[in-house]
Amino acid sequence: MLDIANLHATVADKPILNGVSLHVPAGEIHAIMGPNGSGKSTLAYVLAGRPGYEVTEGSASFEGQDLLAMEPHERAAAGLFLGFQYPVEIPGISYLQFLRESLNAQRRSRGDAQLSGGEFIKLAREQAGLLGMDAEMLKRPVNVGFSGGEKKRAEMVQMGIMQPKFAVLDETDSGLDIDALKAVGAGINRIMRASGKGALLITHYQRLLDYVEPDRVHVLSRGEIVRSGGPELARELESEGYAEAAA
């Protein structure tokens, strides 16, 4: 479903990714772990198409389409979702309006009918409820005044509303207390565990993986994948640290 081959990328002319190769088949959830500065977030941003993240070599395709040739909004319409490590605040725009515009833009480009205001509010309430988030919060400006945990929960509500085919979740577990972690884990399983879907969880810690069992775990170090294994690899990393495992 997601195929990355020998991907090199620079940020401000500094090489960050140095030949990442990764294959995530449909129906699987993979985890990428690694120390700070190993290139995890850069990989997420490159996949989503953030300006300033230059691919200098290699390829990335999504369901056979050249991901790197697509604009960020085209990637979203194709079914790719990025859960941000630091969700962005947008004063003056309510979450409801922001998400309705987003979803309808995706639907337009796929040739699907637009959702009316009423239909959208029903969908948003339902998804907020499933994530244990007060739907009233969606009337507030995007992420403004939200705590770290609320922002991450809101990212999952967005994912539930968008129903992407593939999610790249960049440290969605950071800043969460135990209850929020459980809710987010359950949300990932509910929304992304399906035969035609896939996900890449980027995380520092084992703890999210206690709730979302990955099919494969990869270790990223200095911009390359240095080890891959089953779920037991995450537990090994947790007990031994990255220095050992990546050696």
Binding site: A48, R50, H73, A76, P91, E101, A105, P141
Partner: protein, 245 residues
């Protein structure tokens, strides 16, 4: 008798498009006078009207304890000018929420003189400009606090967003204070859209034009939050912004 035609040497006409103004000057030469009596309230919404040149000149007198709230959208295709001269009696309150939205070669300006004549008056002016192409958007705001107008509380908040390199924002707050116990705050910023907000919106599926329009809406729409019937001005502002991106 027609008032003399203004010149750029007059501070309050410094950024005006006088060539555009000349042919229509006679119909606008005299400002409209509006009086709000003691303890009375006025709320007005000023929408753009038809025509390439749109001029609104108003003298507004607020009696003791009177309140006036103006919501204004300035969006003329060639030259738009909203000119207000407000006098506040004791304890009067005046609020102006105004937007300049302009593109092409247009000039849109809000020129306000607020005179605090009595004690305990409050004035608040919030101006947002969104300018594209070679559009010019200006705010000239003069606050005069008369001798004896103690406890005056005056605020000016002016922010402009420039979408293209050729666009210009002018902002000139001016204070003339003859009382010693007053509060006069003003702030002004000129900026561009935040690249991270744009990427966030695009990553959720908005094409770049929609993302820009939505972010600009957020920048402007907060102005109309306290209007009793904001629908018409919201719709007009939204339409003006969509034309711009």
């Amino acid at each position: 008798m027609t008032a003399p035609f203004p010149s750029h040497k007059q501070e309050e006409w410094r950024y005006a498009d006088l060539d555009a103004l000349k042919p229509v000057w006679e119909q606008f030469a005299e400002p409209l006078t509006v009086t709000v009596g003691a303890g009375e309230e006025l709320e007005e919404i000023w929408l753009p009207v038809a025509g390439e040149v749109q001029l609104r000149r108003v003298q507004l007198a607020l009696g003791s304890g009177a309140k006036a709230r103006i919501f204004a959208l300035n969006n003329a295709p060639v030259y738009g000018r909203i000119e207000l001269e407000v006098s506040l009696g004791e304890g009067a309150e005046f609020e102006l929420f105004g937007a300049n939205i302009g593109a092409g070669l247009s000039t849109n300006e809000i020129v306000a003189t607020v005179k605090h004549l009595g004690a305990g008056g409050r004035s608040r002016q919030v101006i947002r400009s969104v300018l594209g192409g070679k559009g010019v958007g200006s705010y000239l705001g003069r606050i005069e606090v008369a001798h004896g107008a103690q406890k005056t509380d005056a605020e000016q908040s002016v922010k402009a967003m420039l979408l293209d390199r050729g666009a210009t924002a002018n902002c000139k707050p001016e204070l003339e204070i003859f009382a010693d116990d007053v509060k006069c705050a003003h702030g002004a910023t000129v900026g561009e859209l935040d690249p991270m907000q744009l990427f966030y919106a695009e990553s959720r599926g908005m094409d770049p034009a929609t993302a820009r329009a939505v972010l600009l809406e957020g920048f402007v729409m907060g102005l109309w939050d306290s209007a009793s019937h904001p629908d018409a001005i919201c719709d007009a502002a939204r339409e003006a912004l969509r034309r711009l991106v």
